[in-house]
Protein backbone atom coordinates (compact mmCIF):
# COMPACT_ATOMS: atom_id res chain seq x y z
CA UNK A 1 0.00 0.00 0.00
CA UNK A 2 2.77 2.40 1.00
CA UNK A 3 4.68 1.53 -2.17
CA UNK A 4 1.68 2.34 -4.37
CA UNK A 5 1.16 5.72 -2.67
CA UNK A 6 4.86 6.41 -3.12
CA UNK A 7 4.78 5.52 -6.82
CA UNK A 8 1.76 7.73 -7.53
CA UNK A 9 3.29 10.61 -5.58
CA UNK A 10 6.69 10.34 -7.27
CA UNK A 11 5.15 9.99 -10.74
CA UNK A 12 2.90 13.02 -10.15
CA UNK A 13 5.89 15.06 -8.95
CA UNK A 14 7.96 14.03 -11.98
CA UNK A 15 5.17 14.96 -14.37
CA UNK A 16 4.73 18.36 -12.70
CA UNK A 17 8.48 19.01 -12.77
CA UNK A 18 9.09 17.95 -16.35
CA UNK A 19 6.44 19.58 -18.55
CA UNK A 20 7.89 17.84 -21.66
CA UNK A 21 6.03 14.62 -22.39
CA UNK A 22 8.01 12.87 -25.18
CA UNK A 23 8.24 9.06 -25.01
CA UNK A 24 11.99 9.05 -24.34
CA UNK A 25 11.77 11.56 -21.47
CA UNK A 26 8.72 9.92 -19.92
CA UNK A 27 10.56 6.57 -19.94
CA UNK A 28 13.49 8.27 -18.17
CA UNK A 29 10.95 9.55 -15.64
CA UNK A 30 9.52 6.06 -15.10
CA UNK A 31 13.07 4.76 -14.67
CA UNK A 32 13.94 7.38 -12.06
CA UNK A 33 10.72 6.68 -10.14
CA UNK A 34 11.64 2.97 -10.06
CA UNK A 35 15.19 3.79 -8.95
CA UNK A 36 13.93 6.00 -6.10
CA UNK A 37 11.50 3.26 -5.02
CA UNK A 38 14.35 0.75 -5.00
CA UNK A 39 16.62 3.04 -2.96
CA UNK A 40 13.93 3.95 -0.41
CA UNK A 41 13.06 0.25 -0.07
CA UNK A 42 16.69 -0.52 0.75
CA UNK A 43 16.92 2.46 3.14
CA UNK A 44 13.84 1.27 4.97
CA UNK A 45 15.65 -1.97 5.70
CA UNK A 46 18.56 -0.02 7.20
CA UNK A 47 16.47 2.29 9.38
CA UNK A 48 12.71 2.14 9.73
CA UNK A 49 12.49 5.79 10.75
CA UNK A 50 9.45 7.43 9.28
CA UNK A 51 7.43 10.55 9.92
CA UNK A 52 3.74 10.30 10.65
CA UNK A 53 1.89 13.42 9.65
CA UNK A 54 -0.86 13.69 12.23
CA UNK A 55 -2.32 17.02 11.19
CA UNK A 56 -5.87 17.96 10.41
CA UNK A 57 -5.54 19.20 6.80
CA UNK A 58 -8.48 21.65 6.88
CA UNK A 59 -7.39 23.15 10.20
CA UNK A 60 -3.81 23.36 8.89
CA UNK A 61 -4.88 25.35 5.81
CA UNK A 62 -6.80 27.67 8.12
CA UNK A 63 -3.70 28.04 10.29
CA UNK A 64 -1.53 28.68 7.22
CA UNK A 65 -3.78 31.55 6.07
CA UNK A 66 -3.73 33.01 9.60
CA UNK A 67 0.09 32.68 9.61
CA UNK A 68 0.33 34.58 6.30
CA UNK A 69 -1.67 37.43 7.87
CA UNK A 70 0.61 37.39 10.94
CA UNK A 71 3.70 37.48 8.68
CA UNK A 72 2.27 40.52 6.86
CA UNK A 73 1.56 42.37 10.12
CA UNK A 74 4.95 41.65 11.71
CA UNK A 75 6.72 42.51 8.43
CA UNK A 76 5.17 45.96 8.62
CA UNK A 77 6.22 46.31 12.27
CA UNK A 78 9.85 45.37 11.61
CA UNK A 79 9.91 47.57 8.49
CA UNK A 80 8.78 50.47 10.64
CA UNK A 81 11.62 49.80 13.12
CA UNK A 82 14.19 49.58 10.32
CA UNK A 83 13.13 52.80 8.61
CA UNK A 84 12.55 54.83 11.80
CA UNK A 85 15.28 57.39 12.48
CA UNK A 86 15.89 56.27 16.05
CA UNK A 87 15.46 52.49 15.48
CA UNK A 88 13.45 51.64 18.62
CA UNK A 89 15.08 48.27 19.33
CA UNK A 90 14.27 46.55 22.61
CA UNK A 91 15.85 43.10 22.42
CA UNK A 92 14.94 40.32 24.76
CA UNK A 93 15.48 36.59 25.16
CA UNK A 94 12.58 34.86 26.80
CA UNK A 95 11.01 31.44 27.18
CA UNK A 96 7.70 30.36 25.66
CA UNK A 97 6.06 27.09 26.72
CA UNK A 98 4.75 24.86 23.94
CA UNK A 99 1.84 22.43 24.17
CA UNK A 100 2.19 20.37 20.95
CA UNK A 101 2.23 16.61 21.40
CA UNK A 102 4.03 15.61 18.18
CA UNK A 103 7.50 16.55 16.96
CA UNK A 104 5.97 17.86 13.75
CA UNK A 105 3.66 20.19 15.70
CA UNK A 106 6.63 21.56 17.66
CA UNK A 107 8.60 22.11 14.46
CA UNK A 108 5.64 23.97 12.93
CA UNK A 109 5.34 26.19 16.01
CA UNK A 110 9.09 26.89 16.19
CA UNK A 111 9.29 27.62 12.46
CA UNK A 112 6.20 29.84 12.63
CA UNK A 113 7.86 31.91 15.35
CA UNK A 114 10.94 32.33 13.15
CA UNK A 115 8.89 33.01 9.99
CA UNK A 116 7.22 36.04 11.55
CA UNK A 117 9.89 38.77 11.47
CA UNK A 118 10.71 40.20 14.88
CA UNK A 119 10.88 36.87 16.70
CA UNK A 120 13.36 33.99 16.25
CA UNK A 121 13.38 30.61 17.98
CA UNK A 122 16.90 30.24 19.35
CA UNK A 123 16.77 27.04 21.37
CA UNK A 124 14.31 24.19 21.71
CA UNK A 125 13.88 22.40 25.01
CA UNK A 126 11.64 19.77 26.55
CA UNK A 127 8.69 22.01 27.39
CA UNK A 128 9.65 25.44 26.14
CA UNK A 129 11.35 27.40 23.39
CA UNK A 130 13.92 30.13 23.90
CA UNK A 131 12.80 33.04 21.72
CA UNK A 132 14.64 36.22 20.77
CA UNK A 133 12.52 39.30 20.06
CA UNK A 134 13.63 42.47 18.29
CA UNK A 135 11.22 44.91 19.91
CA UNK A 136 9.93 43.10 22.97
CA UNK A 137 6.70 43.96 24.70
CA UNK A 138 4.40 42.08 27.05
CA UNK A 139 2.03 41.56 24.11
CA UNK A 140 4.57 39.22 22.49
CA UNK A 141 3.95 36.66 25.23
CA UNK A 142 0.21 36.74 24.57
CA UNK A 143 0.43 36.60 20.79
CA UNK A 144 2.92 33.69 20.93
CA UNK A 145 0.69 31.83 23.40
CA UNK A 146 -2.16 32.39 20.93
CA UNK A 147 -0.02 30.97 18.10
CA UNK A 148 0.85 27.98 20.32
CA UNK A 149 -2.87 27.26 20.85
CA UNK A 150 -3.57 27.52 17.12
CA UNK A 151 -0.75 25.09 16.21
CA UNK A 152 -1.92 22.60 18.84
CA UNK A 153 -5.45 22.82 17.42
CA UNK A 154 -4.18 21.60 14.01
CA UNK A 155 -2.85 18.38 15.55
CA UNK A 156 -5.02 15.32 15.22
CA UNK A 157 -6.01 14.07 18.65
CA UNK A 158 -6.95 10.51 17.69
CA UNK A 159 -3.44 9.48 16.64
CA UNK A 160 -1.79 10.51 19.88
Amino acid sequence: MRAITYTVLLAALWLLWSGIYKPLLVSFGAGSVLLVLLITHRMNRVDGDRLDISLNPIRFIGYFLWLLKEIAVSNMNVTRVILAGTMPIKQNLFRIPHTQKSDLGQVIFANSITLTPGTVTVETEENEFLVHALSYSEDDLHSLADMDRRVSATEMKSNL
Binding site: L16, W17, G19, L68, I71, A72, N75, V78, T79, V81, I82, L83, M87, I89, K90, Q91, N92, L93, F94, R95, A110, N111, S112, T114, L115, T116, P117, G118, T119, V120, T121, V122, E123, L130, H132, L134, Y136
Partner: protein
Protein backbone atom coordinates in the same frame (compact mmCIF):
# COMPACT_ATOMS: atom_id res chain seq x y z
CA UNK B 1 -9.08 40.77 -16.76
CA UNK B 2 -5.55 40.35 -18.06
CA UNK B 3 -4.85 44.00 -17.28
CA UNK B 4 -6.09 43.63 -13.72
CA UNK B 5 -3.89 40.54 -13.18
CA UNK B 6 -0.92 42.39 -14.67
CA UNK B 7 -1.38 45.41 -12.42
CA UNK B 8 -1.87 43.17 -9.37
CA UNK B 9 1.27 41.21 -10.19
CA UNK B 10 3.29 44.43 -10.59
CA UNK B 11 1.99 45.63 -7.22
CA UNK B 12 3.15 42.33 -5.67
CA UNK B 13 6.55 42.46 -7.38
CA UNK B 14 7.23 46.09 -6.47
CA UNK B 15 6.15 45.67 -2.84
CA UNK B 16 8.17 42.44 -2.62
CA UNK B 17 11.22 44.31 -3.90
CA UNK B 18 10.51 47.01 -1.32
CA UNK B 19 10.72 44.45 1.50
CA UNK B 20 13.92 42.94 0.07
CA UNK B 21 15.51 46.41 0.03
CA UNK B 22 14.22 47.20 3.53
CA UNK B 23 15.74 43.93 4.77
CA UNK B 24 19.08 44.91 3.22
CA UNK B 25 18.93 48.39 4.80
CA UNK B 26 18.11 46.84 8.16
CA UNK B 27 21.01 44.40 7.89
CA UNK B 28 23.37 47.34 7.47
CA UNK B 29 21.76 49.69 10.01
CA UNK B 30 21.11 47.37 12.94
CA UNK B 31 23.69 47.37 15.73
CA UNK B 32 24.45 43.69 16.41
CA UNK B 33 24.08 40.13 15.16
CA UNK B 34 20.76 39.43 16.88
CA UNK B 35 19.01 42.48 15.49
CA UNK B 36 20.38 41.84 12.00
CA UNK B 37 18.87 38.37 12.08
CA UNK B 38 15.42 39.98 12.20
CA UNK B 39 16.21 42.39 9.38
CA UNK B 40 17.22 39.47 7.16
CA UNK B 41 13.97 37.68 7.95
CA UNK B 42 12.00 40.58 6.42
CA UNK B 43 13.69 39.78 3.09
CA UNK B 44 13.18 36.08 3.66
CA UNK B 45 9.46 36.12 4.46
CA UNK B 46 7.74 39.23 3.13
CA UNK B 47 10.00 39.73 0.11
CA UNK B 48 9.97 36.11 -0.97
CA UNK B 49 6.19 35.61 -0.58
CA UNK B 50 5.26 38.77 -2.45
CA UNK B 51 7.73 38.25 -5.31
CA UNK B 52 6.67 34.61 -5.76
CA UNK B 53 3.00 35.67 -5.71
CA UNK B 54 3.71 38.31 -8.35
CA UNK B 55 5.55 35.80 -10.53
CA UNK B 56 2.69 33.29 -10.14
CA UNK B 57 0.24 35.89 -11.48
CA UNK B 58 2.58 36.57 -14.42
CA UNK B 59 2.82 32.86 -15.24
CA UNK B 60 -0.94 32.18 -15.02
CA UNK B 61 -2.33 28.63 -14.85
CA UNK B 62 0.82 26.84 -16.03
CA UNK B 63 3.36 24.35 -14.70
CA UNK B 64 5.60 27.31 -13.90
CA UNK B 65 3.10 28.42 -11.25
CA UNK B 66 3.12 24.94 -9.73
CA UNK B 67 6.91 25.06 -9.52
CA UNK B 68 6.87 28.55 -8.01
CA UNK B 69 4.43 27.41 -5.32
CA UNK B 70 6.62 24.38 -4.56
CA UNK B 71 9.68 26.66 -4.33
CA UNK B 72 7.69 28.82 -1.92
CA UNK B 73 6.81 25.83 0.25
CA UNK B 74 10.46 24.70 0.32
CA UNK B 75 11.56 28.18 1.38
CA UNK B 76 8.86 28.20 4.08
CA UNK B 77 10.51 25.16 5.64
CA UNK B 78 14.20 25.74 4.93
CA UNK B 79 14.29 29.51 5.62
CA UNK B 80 13.30 29.42 9.30
CA UNK B 81 15.28 26.22 9.83
CA UNK B 82 18.53 27.82 8.65
CA UNK B 83 17.77 31.00 10.62
CA UNK B 84 17.28 28.84 13.71
CA UNK B 85 20.55 27.01 13.02
CA UNK B 86 22.47 30.30 12.82
CA UNK B 87 20.79 31.74 15.93
CA UNK B 88 21.37 28.54 17.87
CA UNK B 89 25.04 28.45 16.86
CA UNK B 90 25.41 32.03 18.10
CA UNK B 91 23.76 31.18 21.42
CA UNK B 92 25.85 28.07 21.94
CA UNK B 93 29.08 29.96 21.22
CA UNK B 94 28.13 32.48 23.90
CA UNK B 95 27.01 35.52 21.90
CA UNK B 96 24.38 37.63 23.71
CA UNK B 97 22.48 40.73 22.52
CA UNK B 98 24.21 44.06 23.26
CA UNK B 99 21.20 45.51 24.98
CA UNK B 100 18.77 43.24 26.70
CA UNK B 101 15.67 43.99 28.70
CA UNK B 102 15.97 42.76 32.25
CA UNK B 103 13.03 40.67 33.36
CA UNK B 104 12.58 37.48 35.37
CA UNK B 105 12.62 35.19 32.35
CA UNK B 106 15.66 36.71 30.66
CA UNK B 107 17.66 36.40 33.88
CA UNK B 108 17.26 32.65 33.73
CA UNK B 109 19.00 32.62 30.35
CA UNK B 110 22.34 34.00 31.50
Amino acid sequence: MQDILNILSYVFLVSGTFFVVVGAIGTVRFPDFWARLHAASVTESGGVILILAGLCLQAGWTLVTVKLIIIGLFLFITGPTSTHAIANAALVSGLRPDTIVKNPTSDKVN
